[in-house]
Symmetry: C2
Subunit: 453 residues, 2 copies
C-alpha cells in the first residue's frame, strides 16, 4: 500500500485518531484537524458525558492499533447494574455470564489523550483550534478558522474524512448533494452531569465495580466510577412536563426533587445545586444518513455518520468498530476508495441503524424496567439459558456488548429470544420451575449457532 495521497481527517476526538493511526501504519499520509485546543495543555471539558463504557468492540479496535495496554490502566470494570430503590435498597444485576463479561468505565478525556499521544508517536500531526467552517466537496477543500487567532486556512487533499461528531461540519456539505438522505431526531429528554466526590479516604463512596442506576419510571439518575475516586453522574429528565428540567429552576426545586426521588444519592452530593447550575442541560440526538461517502473524495465516519443516544453504551464502541470494518475492506481492496466506501456503507449501515434503534429501546429498560422484579427474573433466566445453551442462546445485551456479531444480527436474534423467554417465563415465578424440555425445543427450533466475528 504505497499510495502517498494525502488524507485529511476532521475531528481528533475518538474515531479520528484511532483511524489515523491505522491508516498511517498502512503507509498512508494522514493529518488530523481538531476544533478544540490541545486538552493536554489546556483544561477543557471534553464537551460531553465525562465517562464512557468501553466494551468488546472498542477494545478489539484498540488492541489492533496496539494502544490497549495504555488504556487498560485507566479503566474501571463494572460487573453489573446496581439499582437504587427509593427506600435505598440495593439490587445487583450482573451484565454478563461471569467475571470476564464486564463493561469498562473510562474517562472520555483520558481516552482521547491516550489516542492523541499514540497518534503523535506515529508521526501524525494534529492541528488544534481548527474549526471547520465549510467543506467544498467538488474542490476537496476544507476551510478552517483558528479559534484562537481567527486565522483562516484552506486544506486541499485527496480524501477528506469527517470524524467530527454528531453535529459534523463536514456532513453539512453532503446535504447539498443530490439525493442525500438525512434524519436528525431529538429525544424529549435532556441530561445534566453531576458528581459524587470520594469519601474522606479518597475511595469511592459506593460500590466501585458497578454502574449505579436510580430507575424512576419516566426518568433516572446513573453513576459511573472514575479512577480518581469520584463518580460521574448523569440525570436524565424530560425537558418539559411533570418531573422535568423545566420545573427545576432554583436551589430549593432541586433539593426538593432529589429528596423526593434520590435521597441516598443526594446524601453523597454536598455540592448538588452548585453542580446542577454549573452545567448546561444536554440534548440527545439520533442521526441517520446515507450515503456516507462521495466518490473517492469524502467519507463520514462515527457519530458524523450515525449519532446514537447513549443508553446502550455503544456510541464509542460502534465508532471504533466502523474503523475495524473500514480497515478490513481497505486491506481487501487496497486504497480503491470508491469501492471500499461503497462496500463499507453496504455492510455497515444496517448495523448502525440497528444499534441506533436498540439504544433508544434500552432507555426504557434502564429508567423503568430494571426496577421491576419480573424483568430481573427474566434476566436471570436469560443467563441460565445461556449457560445451558452456550453459543446458541446468547442474551442480546451480551451479543451487543461482549461479542462482535453484527448489531443487526443481535437485534433480530434478540427478538426471537424475547419470544422464547416470554413463553418460558410467563407461566412461572421461580427459576426452579423452568420447563427445560420446552426450552430445549424452542432454542433448537428457533436459533442457529451464533457466528461471532
Amino acid at each position: 500500500m504505497a499510495s502517498k495521497e494525502k488524507i485529511t481527517i476532521v475531528g481528533s476526538g475518538l474515531a479520528g485518531p484511532l483511524l489515523a493511526i491505522s491508516l498511517k501504519k498502512r503507509g498512508l499520509d494522514v493529518e488530523l484537524y481538531e476544533r478544540r485546543p490541545d486538552m493536554r495543555k489546556v483544561h477543557i471539558s471534553a464537551g460531553r458525558s465525562i465517562n464512557l463504557a468501553l466494551s468488546t468492540r472498542g477494545i478489539y479496535a484498540l488492541r489492533e492499533i496496539g494502544v490497549w495496554p495504555q488504556i487498560e490502566k485507566i479503566i474501571i470494570p463494572m460487573r453489573g447494574r446496581m439499582m437504587h430503590a427509593l427506600n435505598g435498597a440495593l439490587t445487583f444485576q450482573p451484565y454478563g455470564k461471569d467475571e470476564t463479561e464486564v463493561i469498562n468505565s473510562v474517562s472520555r478525556a483520558d481516552l482521547n489523550i491516550a489516542l492523541m499521544d499514540a497518534a503523535e508517536a506515529q508521526g501524525i500531526t494534529i492541528h488544534f483550534n481548527q474549526r471547520c467552517t465549510h467543506f467544498d466537496l467538488r474542490e476537496r477543500a476544507v476551510y478552517f478558522r483558528d479559534e484562537e487567532t481567527d486565522e483562516r486556512k484552506t486544506v486541499n487533499s485527496e480524501l477528506v474524512i469527517g470524524a467530527d461528531g454528531a453535529v459534523s461540519a463536514v456532513r453539512r456539505d453532503f446535504l447539498k448533494l443530490q439525493r442525500f438522505n438525512f434524519s436528525q431526531q431529538y429525544l424529549d429528554y435532556g441530561y445534566k452531569e453531576l458528581t459524587i466526590p470520594p469519601n474522606s479516604d479518597g475511595k469511592h463512596a459506593m460500590e466501585t465495580h458497578a454502574l449505579h442506576i436510580w430507575p424512576r419510571g419516566s426518568f433516572m439518575l446513573i453513576a459511573l466510577p472514575n479512577i480518581d475516586g469520584t463518580f460521574g453522574c448523569i440525570l436524565f429528565l424530560p425537558f418539559e412536563g411533570k418531573n422535568s428540567f423545566q420545573l427545576l429552576q432554583n436551589n430549593s426545586d432541586i433539593v426538593k426533587f432529589f429528596e423526593e426521588n434520590f435521597p441516598d444519592a443526594m446524601a453523597l452530593m454536598p455540592r448538588l445545586a452548585e453542580n446542577f447550575f454549573a452545567n448546561p442541560v444536554g440534548a440527545m440526538v439520533t442521526v441517520k444518513c446515507s450515503p456516507w461517502s462521495h466518490g473517492s473524495r469524502a467519507l463520514l465516519l462515527g457519530d458524523a455518520a450515525h449519532a446514537i443516544v447513549p443508553f446502550f453504551g455503544q456510541g464509542l464502541n460502534c465508532s471504533f468498530e466502523d474503523c475495524t470494518v473500514l480497515l478490513g475492506l481497505l486491506d481487501r481492496y487496497g486504497p480503491n476508495w470508491p469501492v471500499v466506501f461503497r462496500e463499507f456503507g453496504a455492510a455497515r449501515k444496517v448495523n448502525t441503524d440497528a444499534i441506533a434503534d436498540m439504544a433508544i429501546e434500552n432507555f426504557v429498560e434502564m429508567r423503568d424496567k430494571v426496577g421491576d422484579s419480573r424483568f430481573l427474573f427474566k434476566k436471570k433466566v436469560e443467563l441460565a439459558l445461556e449457560a445451558k445453551f452456550p453459543g446458541l442462546f446468547v442474551p442480546k445485551y451480551a451479543m451487543v456488548t461482549f461479542h462482535r456479531v453484527p448489531y443487526s444480527v443481535a437485534e433480530s436474534r434478540g427478538r426471537i429470544q424475547d419470544r422464547i423467554l416470554s413463553e418460558l417465563c410467563d407461566p412461572i415465578a421461580k427459576i426452579e420451575d423452568l420447563d427445560w424440555q420446552r426450552a430445549d425445543e424452542l432454542v433448537h427450533r428457533n436459533l442457529t449457532p451464533l457466528e461471532d466475528a
Copy 2:
C-alpha cells in the same frame, strides 16, 4: 380580527397565495414573495410535474376563498384508472362509487395563475424574482436577492410563513434551532416528463376522462389529460440498475425501451427522444420535520413542512388542507399565534405523516398491483361493500380522496378494512360468491360510522 401586524409569506406557489387570500379576508396585512418571475408575463416551466390531481380537500379550500368557480373551468375530471397492458389491452378501474367521485387533472401553472390573480384582486402584493437567501429567526428578517437585478433586500415583519416548497429556504434557519427534528428521504426512483400531443382534430389521443397507467412491476408510465388536448406523461424509473434512467443514454436506448415496454404509448409520441432529452430527471423526496413553528415568529406550511411523493395525488390537496386547518384555529383563537401554531402542529402532523407514508405505499399499488387481476377483483369487492355499508365501509382511496376525514383515520381504518377484505376475498373468485353474512359481521364488529370533517 383587527390586528394590523405584517405577515410575510415566502413562496407564491399554491398554498402561499391561497393562505394569503384567507388572511387578507380576515383583515390581516400580508405580502407574498416569489423566487420565480411572474409566469403570466414570462413563459417558464412551473418547475415540477405539469399536472396535478385536485380532489375534495383541495376543492373545499378553493371554495372557501371563492376561487372555485374560476378553477372549475380549467379542470378535466378523471373517473378512474385506465390500465394499459403490454399487448395494448385496456382495463378501466373506477376511482369512486359513482360519477360524483372523480379526481381532477389541472395544470399546475393554470392553477397558480388563477390563485395569483385572485390574490392580487384582494389587494395583495406579490414580489417576483425574489430569492430567499437566508432567514434570521431571531431578527424576524428575511433576506432576498432579486434574480434579475441581483439587488438585495431585507424584509422585516411580525410573522414569516415559509410556503416555499420541499427545499424550503425558510426551513434552513429552523435547522439551527435547538432540537429541531428533521428528515429528508429520497426515493431510488426518478421521474421524467413527456408529452402525448393531440390528434390532428385537436382532441385527446386516448380516453380523456381517465388517468392512464402503464404498470410494469418495478416501473411505470402515467398520463393525465390537459385542456389543450395533450396528455402530460410521467415516466417513473429507478435511477440505477435494471430498467433504469442510467441505462437510457441515447436515442436508440429510449426507442428500444419504449418499444419493449410501452409500444402503444410510443405510437402516440412522435417526439419521444427529443422530449426525453429536453427535460431533466427529477428526484422525489419525503420531508418530515417538527416543530413547524417558532413562537409567534415563523411557521412552515405545505411542502416546506411535509413534502410527500406524488403517488396518492395529495401533495396539493394536503397543502390546501393545511390552510383549512390553520384558518379554523385562527378563527377559534384569534391571532394568538403561539397557541394557533402549537395547536396546528399538534392536530396536523399526525395526518401529514400518515399521507406521507400512504403516498409511498401507493407507488407499489400504481406501478405493480393495478396490473393484477386479483387486486382489481378486490377493488370491485371494496366498492360493493361500500354500496352495502355506506358511511361504514369506505375504501381508503375514497376516504383520502373524496372525504375530508383526517388522513390518520383513513390510514388506520384502511388497515382494518384490508384485513376484512382479505378474509372475504381470499376464498372466492367471483363477487357472486361473497359471504354477505360474514361481511356484515366483520364490518359491524370492526368499524364505527365514519365521521367526516
